[in-house]
Each structure stands twice: as C-alpha cells, then as structure tokens.
Amino acid sequence: MNIWWTYIGMAAVTYAARAIPLLIMRNDPPPWLALWLRYVPPAVFTALVVPAIVTTSGIAGRVITFGPAIPAGLIGALVAWRTSNALLTVLCGMVSFWLIRMVMGS
C-alpha cells in the first residue's frame, strides 16, 4: 500500500510543477515576460538536445563523450535545416549513427 502513497506524492509534486504556471498565468503577461517566454522554446529544445548527444551518464556522473552520436547529430541537424522534416531527420541521424559505429568497430 505504501508504494501507492509514494506515487501520489510523486504525482503531486510533478503536477505542481506542470500546473502552477498554467493556472496562474491568466492575464496578458507584462511585455518583458512575454518577450522572455518567446525565447524559451529554442533554449529548452537546445538543452534537451546537446547534453543528450555530447555527454553520457556513468557511475561517476555525466562526462563528455566523443562518440558517433556527435557526427550523427550534426547530420541530423543538416537534414533538419534543409528539409524541416522530423521523420527524415531521425532516419538519417540513426542510419548515420549505426554506420559510423560499425566503421569505428564498436
């Protein structure tokens, strides 16, 4: 039974983070905040991409790793830049990741 109470606690703190801004921002935000929020998507997207590609998590925490993910990510970025096609980006990125890894023999 204990575990379900833990779930409810986990859900509550998660919901709080997701809900508080959505519920309190009813009116037009002041101009400085509107301008700030306009640049949140590129900043967050970048933060979700870059460490995921150039670092790996190990026992000793995160470390920078120069692996096949970096050239694969660059190829993906080029495809995305030229085509704006998400499916093609993922396909080209994954295929180049596997090819590079095969060539590097790991």
Partner: protein
Amino acid sequence: MQGVTQSRWKSIQSGFIATIIVWPGVAPFGMVYAVSALAAGLSFSETLGMSLIVFAGASQFTAVGLFGAGANPISIIAATAIINARHLLLAASTASYIRQSPGWLRSIVAFQLTDETYAVGVQQFEKTGGDAWFQFGSNLSLYFVWAVSTVIGSLLGALIPDPVGLGLDLIFPLTFIAFLMPMVRDRVNRSVALLAAGISIAVALWLPGSWYVLIAGLVGSAFGAWFAVQSPLTPPEEGSDANH
C-alpha cells in the same frame, strides 16, 4: 454547439496525430521502464500504476532505481520534484499560448504535459496560435503510447533488447533537433541556442538530474529577450514597449 464540439474533436485528433512523430523515441523507454520496474520488485499493477499516475519518464526511471535500493518514500518524492522542476518552465511557456482557455481545461492539460508534447504544441502554436485542445490531444497521444509500451514491456520482459545498446536513446535528441532547426533561422534565436548549448553542457556536467534544462532554458531565453531588444535587425513586435 455542434460546430464547437466538432472543432474541438478536430483539434484533439490533430494533436494526437502530430505527436506520433515522437512515439519511436518514447516507446522503447516505456518498455525498458517496465522491465526495470519489474526487476526492482514492483508488481505489474504497480509498474503500470506509476506510468498512469505519475507519467514522467525520467523520474520514473529514477524512482525505480530508488525503490530497488530500498529508499524511503520522502527521498523518492524529493528526487521526483527535483527532476520535474523543469516543467515549471515548459508550463509557463505553454501558458503563454493557451492562457485564454478555461481553467479546468488548463488543469487537465497540466497533468500530462511532457518535454515531447510541449515541443509538439509549441511547433503548432507558432504556426496557428494557441489551442488547448490540440495540446490535450497531443498529451493524450503520449499518455497512450507510454501506457501501452509499459504493458508491452511488462509482457515481453527480458526479451526486450537494451535500447541504449542499440543507440535508440539518440531518437529523442534527433527529434528535438528537427523541432529546433527551423526555429534558429534568425540571429537572436541562433544566439539563444548557442548560449543554451554551452550552459546546458556545463550544468549537466556539474549538477545531477535535469537542472541543466531549467537553468539553460531560463538563462538562454532571458538572453534572447535582452538581445531582441538590443538588436536593430529584429525589432520585437509585442516587446517593443519593453525597450526602456
């Protein structure tokens, strides 16, 4: 009324469909989550229950590790709060698009907002304007695939190969690259991305969890706002009165 119901349904549907693009990045990890939860001693209903009640991938993996290590509930809840603090920023960003929709709808949207559906929503809203029903459909889509992949993972168990070994953890950042690149066509957005890249690496190496998303997100976007006001090449439309 008929027309309203129909357009809502259309929005939910198109949100649901637009989110299928992120399924391949999510489903393998839903399955692996289930495998590791069962291995940590959780029952099937407890494994699926966490996916349905908490619905936050990274924190579910962490919780499974902590359950396996016999950690106490308070520390598990605290770890969850820290990992999911980044949602404050995503929710604030989403709120700026859908703040006009009713409170009850926003409180439902808040329950299932994730990195992935946030990105799908923003993409759509930048093109067509905010639509909370679209966001709801997108959230529902990810909730659905997360639940289904948890069940499949529980059933297949150890038959599932390690997705990290296959490199499938690269699908997530590749998907976000596809979301990001069309955004960085101007100087301000490009500078925001470059700064956020540097900060996110530095913070990821320095602090555990996902603080790097929150910190790089906050600082990168604040810099963008400042730079937009300074830059004569890209005069901000709504933000011009902030120029003092």
